[in-house]
Amino acid sequence: MIRQTLRDRFAHDITNRGVTAWLVSACLFAFYLILYFTEWFTPVARALHLGSKWTLYGTLYTLAILTGGGFMLRRYAHNRYQVIRTICVMCSQVLFAYSLPQFLVFLRQPEYYFSYLWPLKLDYLNPNYLFHLPLPFILWSMLGSFLLVPVLGIFFGKRWYCSWVCGCGGLANTFGEPWRHLSSKSTKSWKFERVSIYTVLGLAIVLTALMFVSYAAGGANPRLAAFTVNYQTWYGLIVASMLAGVVGVGLYPINGTRVWCRFFCPMAALLGIVQKAGRYRITVKDDMCISCGLCSKYCEMGIDVRSYAQSNESFTRASCVGCGLCAEVCPRGVLRLENVTRQARQMQLVQIRGIQADSECRGATMESI
């Protein structure tokens, strides 16, 4: 590699698992461990008139998204999909995940995050919490998870949530942008992902069911109640704190930005299933791929996009969050994100099969056939 200036060398090091990258990773780990397991940030938050350490965290998180978002907007100013998506995810963070909850508290309402839904936020379908909320919040929780998620998922794929609304995706696609290429593309990672993500989804569903059963039983079954509380605590510690926070963000400089989203997020798992059944797909332009591999390299979900592109295969992968960077970096404009209706897809399939057969023998006539 040619690295001349100190600045280039630093940029390369920090984005390619160099010493500085490990340092940043260690700092992020330390930050999250301190945040979750100590009260060291509480006096800092008080000194800044931010109330609690969680408000301080929210402020830092929002600032990271806004700064990274600004970087995104400058870098991809020529790509309107990226511009609109980035503005959307920045607004979602500022409004739904930062200002609105605080404003609700100010109005003596529950601190509620409209941009988070079950199963990402299990509390929002926890009867012990849910049924103490005012009615509009209950409705939003229910409709959000059972109507909004599947309907929008069918029409637009999981991207409407994962890369347009969600705060985890928001941080990944703004602050985390310089590290997106570090996601592992190996078959091994893919096999792990399929097991891990559906395991967490299973755990989340079982826990929610338990919470309802335990709630319905009231005090009739103290052992069940105790088990549920225990389960909930462990889930909160391992999944919500460790995997989503400490590991999810801490590994940004080492394993890319979507470790949580790709391997563990139950919401992503659920949306992925919906996506497979829906309209969203990445359309591949036949015979135009030069196998350069930029699409695979810059896929934060570790999808080997090139393998589809070079074999003329339009595809829908459950893990794809529709960030659109593969289409952006493709030097030959081979890829396009699309929402295709079922009929159009069928028709195109017929057409594509025709074209594929045609392109396979493009330019040739087979006398033997």
Binding site: I290, C292, L294, M366
Partner: protein, 443 residues
């Protein structure tokens, strides 16, 4: 059946994978002197610019070759004996084969400049993996570089050297950049874009002499027009030619022209020996010899050559031409052949219409040519298009007016980023009404 393939470029590897797919019992050996694993030649520049690692250049996971039972052998093929059906490498290894595919690709054309033979260092190109090594070793931030040659590899080199912080002069022999593919107006747009990126573009100058120091390091080039350009790095990319020199002195040389001569089934003059990709020269009845030298044609030929090797009767004829590229940030799609390679005004043959429109203030242009009432070629810069759609329209012999009406069907821009076709359509209508004769529309 025992298949040997010389060359692990896109033609060779495509052929190998296709052979495996169609014949599970075949023995397949791929021989390469360049690299252990197939890599994307077209992506060399991205590796140089730190956007990909060397490993990222490989389109297939390394395990694929073992899984597909494709044996890889490193070495230069030195002798070919079609009588005994053997191939000998420079290390003495000998292979016997039942079918042999020559897919040795291209090598850079070497110019006849005075002093070039003395140059030992500072010369760069982007054809092989070794060129990438040499290029990475040769660049020096802040120093001067000259790139000679107005084609696709030339502009890749220019972009890379600029990225590496060099002062780059781009010397183009022709009156404008890449006249075989771009019109003067299109070229002007690309040159303007290059200048915006700090490139010193000089057209219409022919290099005559290369100057070197006592160690053989390049120090300057002089042109026949009397200019002298100092440089520590010299990119020479004046095109490529089939790599076939090694075949001239083998025991049984196949028939050679510009490339290895093959028929429509990719058979060379030797029994059991085939050739495909950049190194092959197609001699089809009733047409001039064809050497196709782009990624897409190599992939296509490799696939079909494999089928021919398996005994299918293949009659290859190049389909409607298409290609793509990217000039710094300007994406480029072309389909079909323009009637004249240099369509200067007034030289276009009777009955030819060429519509050209550049979006004011933007690096976006479209050029569409028709002949005898039917659309013939597209040159699209700065926006994305589905070349398959264009091909179909050319095959269907649609009229220019019809194509302009349905142009949106071929758009492939990102969501929310679709090029607004209204200005182009308005310009087209005005041009059609005012000037139905065969001239280019004013920019």
């Amino acid at each position: 059946m025992n298949y040997a393939i010389v060359g692990n470029g896109v033609a060779g590897i495509t052929a190998a994978l296709d052979l495996r797919q169609r014949d599970p019992r075949a023995e397949i050996t791929v021989i390469s002197a360049e690299s252990d694993y197939f890599f994307s030649r077209t992506a060399l520049m991205y590796s140089f610019m730190d956007r990909l690692t060397r490993r990222d250049l490989e389109p297939y996971e390394r395990g694929v070759y073992d899984a597909q039972r494709i044996r890889r052998v490193r070495g230069w093929a030195q002798d070919l004996d079609a009588k005994s059906c053997t191939l000998t490498l420079d290390n003495g290894q000998t292979f016997s084969w039942d079918r042999l595919l020559l897919a040795t690709g291209s090598r850079p054309r070497r110019p006849e400049w005075q002093g070039l033979d003395h140059a030992r260092s500072g010369l760069v190109n982007f054809v092989s993996l070794q060129d990438l090594d040499a290029c990475e070793a040769a660049v020096r931030r802040g120093q001067r570089a000259v790139v000679v040659g107005g084609g696709l590899i030339g502009i890749e080199l220019v972009e890379c050297l600029r990225w590496a912080g060099m002062e780059v002069t781009f010397l183009i022999r022709e009156p404008w950049y890449w006249p075989v593919a771009l019109s003067e107006a299109e070229s002007a747009m690309v040159i303007e874009h290059m200048r915006h990126h700090g490139v010193n573009v000089v057209a219409g100058e022919v290099v005559a002499t290369v100057e070197t120091d006592s160690h053989g390091a390049v120090t300057a080039v002089s042109t026949a027009q009397g200019s002298r350009y100092e440089c520590s790095t010299l990119g020479v990319s004046i095109g490529v030619e089939p790599a076939l020199d090694w075949l001239r002195n083998v025991s049984t040389p196949p028939r050679l022209g510009r490339g290895i001569v093959v028929d429509a089934g990719f058979h060379t003059s030797l029994p059991g020996v085939f050739a495909a990709g950049d190194c092959a020269e197609l001699q089809l009845p009733g047409s001039a010899p064809i050497v196709e030298q782009i990624w897409y044609s190599a992939k296509r030929q490799g696939r079909l050559a494999a089928r021919s090797m398996l005994g299918e009767r293949i009659q290859y004829a190049p389909p409607v031409f298409f290609n793509s590229s990217k000039f710094f940030e300007i994406e480029y799609t072309t389909v079909g052949r323009f009637p004249n390679s240099i369509p200067a005004r007034g030289q276009i043959s009777e009955g030819t219409l060429v519509f050209y429109f550049r979006y004011p203030g933007q690096d976006i242009s479209i050029r569409i040519a028709g002949q005898g009432g039917a659309v013939q070629a597209f040159n699209m810069l700065g926006s994305r298009w589905d070349h398959n759609q264009f091909e179909r329209w050319i095959e269907q012999r649609r009229s220019l007016d019809d194509v302009m009406d349905r142009l949106h069907q071929a758009q492939f821009d990102v969501e929310f980023g679709r090029l607004d076709l209204a200005p182009a359509r308005t310009a087209f209508k005005q041009w059609r009404a005012a000037n139905p004769a065969s001239v280019e529309a004013p920019a």
